[in-house]
Amino acid sequence: MQDTDYKGVNTLLRVYETKLLTRENYEQLLKANNLKEALEVLKSTDYHFDENNVLDTKEYDDFLMNHLGNIYQELYEVTPDSEVIQFFTLRYSYHNLKVLLKQRFTGTDLEHLMIPIGKYPLSTLKNLVQTQQSMQLNEILVEGVQEAIQDYEIYGRIEAADVFMDTYYYKHLRAIAERLDNPTITKIIDAMIDLDNLSTVVRSLNRKKSRSFLHTVLSSSGTIPKSDIIDAAAGGAIAVLNDLYMDKSYSSHLHQIVNESKDAINPMKLDKLIEQIVHELMEEGLYQAFGPMPVMAYMFAKEKEITNIRLLLVGKDNQIAENILRERMRPIYGS
């Protein structure tokens, strides 16, 4: 795959980028007095929805996922390598597999929880969970489903769906990064998995989870060995950060959180910081004229935009204070 193959899509993205919400839009949303006013602001942007219906049902995810699904669909059609898009849509595919696995394990109908986003149609995923075989799907995905079903059949643990799908999601991301062989993408994946592991450790230690729990939930697909993280976790979350993360390129951000924390790290601040680090890594590739990075950066921006809109709409509907919303807002594209 040549980097110049992306020149068409990158030109198209420059047009799409203008449709992203601006800081002014966010300010207007933040200043809205209620949900109706917030929806009025959102109506003037690229989002299309029936205002009365949204006010009635409060189902924000319906139109947000619809919008996101259309964008991914368009990008799948114009992007030369679909794995670049999969980088973001895999999360939805693995979510759908979790739903299907839990449906298989418990016999309850959970299909309404599926999100029709991703490279693979829902029917193909359903077929995989039913037959445990597929010629169309990636072998990592197939292996994950087979392992989860096998584990459930032996031990009867429903959480196998979550454990195996989360593990294989990271494995799949790593495989995509290796195949794309793009240094910026590899750097982003390295940071994402390592930082997700860090967030998991902090959350687990706050909930006083055991060593074996950490062994189950941490991913082995990062650059820091899982065993090293588990060993360092015995000394607390700050020890994990100091021992294993301070040689990373993004360590200056982490210094900040270590300095702010006395005994324990605030996981909410850490989650926001992780988003900021990934955002900055994405922005490094934003102005590359060639290659997949502009697509990646655009999709990341779109995902964060959806998160911010959901946060603001839910916030306005529930009269949550502006400072609480501002504190939780994810990075804004181009800022």
């Binding site: 979510h95 643990r157 989360d166 909930r207 074996s212 916030g315």
Partner: protein, 210 residues
């Protein structure tokens, strides 16, 4: 006060006197029952109010934390995380008798055997704020169940108090005054009959002398 529609006979008077004595005794008993029910109800309602304030305060906090946490995640992600509960709760209800009111006594048993895994939900599609809000909601659970028991007891007792109050009032302001008035009426009537009888006898005696 309306008098009962009965014939003014000695037999009826005796019946009514019996009824009055039973009604007066019943009234006293019911009044005592009402007082005791009120006493227990007031202490329960006080406990209920305290618990309700406590639960409502904590629940409001937990729910607003949950709203903020869920606003950062897709709704389907959250529903998927909790689509299969990791524990089940068994409820045994026994009945307790408070002043002839059968109130429920609820025993909730959390099936600990099912809690053999530390994994409640996946960490990928959740966040730390969700952990906190779920922990808060879990902590309120036992108080919430206790509150449901007390509220149901209060509701049943309130119904019984109302029923008893109606009976007490009916006896006090209707039944007993009616009986008393009817008894008085019969007594007057009988006395009048008696006097009429004496007068007639005297008159007959006078006629005999003449």
């Amino acid at each position: 006060m309306a008098r009962l529609n009965v014939k003014p006979t000695r037999m009826e008077l005796s019946n009514l006197k019996d009824r009055l004595s039973i009604s007066t005794r019943g009234h006293k008993l019911l009044k005592d029952k009402q007082d005791e029910l009120m006493r227990q109800f007031i202490s329960l309602i006080r406990e209920n109010n305290e618990l309700r304030d406590e639960v409502e305060g904590e629940l409001t906090q937990a729910m607003s934390a949950f709203v903020v946490a869920k606003s950062l995640l897709n709704e389907s992600f959250i529903e998927e995380l909790f689509s299969v509960p990791d524990t089940s709760v068994t409820l045994d209800i026994t009945e307790k008798n408070i002043m002839s009111v059968n109130v429920p006594q609820m025993n909730f048993t959390v099936n600990e055997e099912e809690k053999n895994s530390e994994m409640q939900y996946g960490y990928l599609n959740s966040n730390s704020e969700l952990d906190d809000s779920i922990e808060k909601i879990e902590a309120i659970m036992s108080k919430l169940l206790k509150l449901s028991e007390i509220e149901k007891t209060c509701q049943l007792m309130a119904d019984e108090i109302e029923k008893t109050r109606r009976r007490v009032n009916a006896l006090e302001y209707l039944m007993i005054p009616q009986l008393e008035e009817t008894i008085h009426y019969i007594q007057m009537k009988l006395e009048e009959n008696e006097r009429a009888n004496i007068t007639r006898m005297m008159k007959v005696k006078d006629m005999g002398k003449a």
